[in-house]
């Protein structure tokens, strides 16, 4: 990524995932499996509750898929909140109280383990902040600002981000342009005063550019994208070939 010496922007808006915080080669599917495995392990050791990791994983996938499809039916510019997904997962998995909180904690723990700080970008942003620019984070994500703040604080303790805007908190996304309108209003900035940096072409480049913001695209290495796709394919194949867990339901004769 080629960063200009100085941005000449009053506000620098930065995407979070794969921009400020970099994901590794693992696919989303693998990450969800890792989260499910950790949650199952903690439920068993801390509360004596047995839940099959495959069941936790499939409930997570079902909940997330149908939450977003429901959103698209009535408010396609909005976003789903992770707390609501955890609540629905807990209901389906029959968990409440501290065991239900493990679903949330496992997610954050795995994210922390699999993310790393984008050091060159953060260093550049730090210099920009010292030169007077206001640095903010703007993310299309189901997490709230507090969770993103926690991850940023853990992985890059001296980050220069002054405020975090997430689509879940504001029920508005970057990919539809709605979140940028919210950000401009809250920051009291004109579009031309803002430089937005991110990796996604639609959410971080074409949409903000259409609204008059300046943009800079962070491109992840091709080999990493390829590894993620291979990992996702591998996860699909493993899932397709694995026999489903057997349950002893009275009267069931299906093998």
């Amino acid at each position: 990524m080629l960063l200009p010496e100085r941005s000449a922007a009053r506000v620098i808006s930065c995407d979070v995932f794969d921009t400020l915080l970099l994901r590794d080669h693992r696919s989303e599917s693998r990450r969800f499996r890792d989260i499910a495995a950790l949650a199952a392990q903690r439920l068993a050791t801390e509360h004596g509750i047995l839940r099959d990791p495959a069941a936790i994983w499939s409930v997570r996938v079902e909940v997330q898929r149908h939450a977003y499809r429901a959103l698209d039916l009535a408010r396609p510019t909005g976003d789903v909140r992770f707390a609501d997904m955890v609540d629905a997962m807990a209901q389906v998995l029959g968990l409440s109280g501290p065991p239900a909180a493990i679903l949330h904690e496992a997610e954050i723990a795995v994210e922390r383990a699999q993310l790393s700080a984008n050091a060159p970008l953060l260093e550049w942003l730090g210099a920009e902040a010292r030169a007077g620019a206001r640095v903010i984070a703007v993310s299309d994500i189901y997490h709230d600002a507090a969770t993103i703040g926690l991850l940023l604080g853990a992985l890059c303790p001296r980050h220069p981000v002054a405020r975090i805007y997430t689509s879940a908190d504001h029920d508005a996304t970057k990919r539809t342009g709605a979140l940028f309108a919210t950000v401009l209003r809250a920051e009291g900035a004109a579009p031309g005063e803002v430089l937005h940096i991110g990796d996604d072409h639609r959410a971080d480049v074409s949409m903000p550019r259409a609204l008059g913001l300046r943009t800079l695209q962070v491109v992840r290495p091709r080999h990493l994208i390829l590894r993620r796709r291979t990992d996702a394919l591998r996860a699909r194949l493993v899932s397709a070939l694995a026999p489903p867990p057997r349950y002893d339901r009275p009267g069931s004769r299906l093998a």
């Binding site: 499939s58 039916l73 209901q91 489903p244 009267g251």
Partner: protein
């Protein structure tokens, strides 16, 4: 082929309902619950379970919620609707959607037949021009013409449409987002109501969504197939086996009640009543005895809250059992899945047989509602080899279609490259 004993076929159908359809419908119910759980502005929405298949889905869903303890938060109602009723709503003036729907349904049939279906009256004295085969633009012109017979047809359609809208108002209680819960496939009702009643927001929550009609799909962005979403059968996607014998799903879910054709005027403050709402209609939604639906409902009745995490895995097993029975049937399954004649609907009373009878053997197989079943029926010994050939043909066709899709996607990218 030797006919199976009727009692044993019924018991097999009941077991198939319990072991294949039950888990699949449980997964549908879980997905329906997730959809209403995450629906924004739920206070402005109503789940409208559409007659007729949706009425049984309502029974399954309500029993599912009761058994699992999951809380429903969107009000539910039984909507007396059919494609015919929805088409009337989109006729003044005729929308593009209603004309394409009528064009497909009445291809080659005289427009007098369309008029009789819409008005549900045989006393319309329509001019000779109406005897011509259906054509969308001609039909629209005739319907809007300034002459007495067309005016009588418009009045008959409008009278029924007003009654339907009053029934709809009673179902929604003023809430403005109608989520139509139905069996599927193309979602004509969603499209027609979206065209005809644009003041409301419409979505479709169907068991299956498939553009088998190959018509435009402006409503697909708001129509979900919660259990199946595909335009054709794909051998490697087990749930698409439902498209090999769709009438089986329809037959399992449709109660022995007539399709909604007309509404009688209301008495007092009560909303208009549909012809489906005969005495005791609600009791007739439930199973009359052992069979596909009774088995499926029995499975739902065995669910406990701690079964919820297992539903996806059990549904996967249910789909495999479904595919085994439908795509690779043996004589016993053919007997178990024998259906009564299916109604053609859209205001008509004629029916279609599950297994076509006239013509040669190949024509009988081709024209049947369940080709695999017809093949085994016609060739009890060699049928298995035929099924293998059929599956290979489906696999080849699907691969060809997917390759064409990949080529179509790749071509513009290549053309755009420097």
């Amino acid at each position: 082929m030797r006919a199976a004993h009727p009692d044993s076929a019924l018991a097999d159908a009941d077991r198939f309902g319990r072991e294949a359809l039950g888990p699949v419908f449980a997964e549908f119910c879980l997905r329906l619950w997730l959809t209403e759980r995450f629906l924004p502005d739920a206070e402005d929405a109503t789940l409208l379970f559409c007659a007729r298949g949706g009425l049984r889905l309502k029974v399954l869903y309500e029993r599912f919620l009761a058994r699992t303890g999951l809380p429903g938060r969107v009000p539910r109602a039984a909507l007396m609707v059919s494609r015919l009723v929805a088409a009337r709503a989109a006729l003044q003036p005729p929308s593009e959607g209603v004309l394409s729907e009528l064009g497909r349904e009445f291809a080659g049939r005289p427009m007098t037949e369309v008029a009789a279906a819409l008005a549900q009256r045989g006393d319309l004295d329509l001019p000779a021009a109406w005897d011509a085969p259906f054509a969308g633009d001609r039909f629209a012109a005739l319907l809007t013409a300034d002459e007495p017979a067309a005016a009588a047809l418009r009045a008959a359609v409008a009278e029924q449409d007003v009654r339907f809208r009053r029934h709809l108002d009673a179902c929604t209680g003023g809430r403005r987002h109608g989520l139509l819960v139905d069996t599927g496939l193309y979602g004509s009702t969603v499209r027609l109501l979206q065209d005809g009643i644009p003041a409301m927001g419409w979505s479709g929550l169907q068991f299956a969504r498939s553009n088998y009609k190959r018509l435009p799909t402006p409503h697909f962005a708001r129509t979900l197939g919660l259990s199946v979403e595909s335009d054709s059968y794909r051998p490697w996607e087990v749930s698409t086996a439902a498209l090999r014998f769709w009438h089986l799903i329809e037959a399992a879910l449709e109660p022995d009640l007539p399709s909604v054709r007309v509404f009688a005027d209301s008495v007092g403050d009560a909303p208009p009543r549909a012809n489906l709402e005969v005495a005791g209609w609600e009791a007739r939604i439930g199973p009359a005895g052992p069979g596909l639906f009774a088995g499926a409902l029995a499975h739902i009745e065995t669910l406990r809250p701690d079964d919820l995490p297992r539903i996806p895995a059990e549904a996967a097993r249910g789909w495999r059992a479904f595919k085994r029975a439908v795509v690779w049937p043996d004589a016993r399954m053919v007997a178990a899945l024998e259906l009564a004649d299916r109604s053609r609907d859209f205001g008509r009373l004629d029916t279609v047989a599950q297994f076509s009878e006239p013509g040669g053997t190949l024509a009988r197989i081709r024209d049947s509602l369940w080709r695999e079943g017809a093949l085994v029926r016609c060739f009890p010994r060699a049928g298995r080899a035929g099924l293998v050939l059929l599956e290979i043909a489906h696999a080849a066709r699907t691969l060809r279609l997917q390759l064409s899709a990949v080529r179509r996607t790749a071509r513009p990218a290549r053309q755009g490259a420097p």
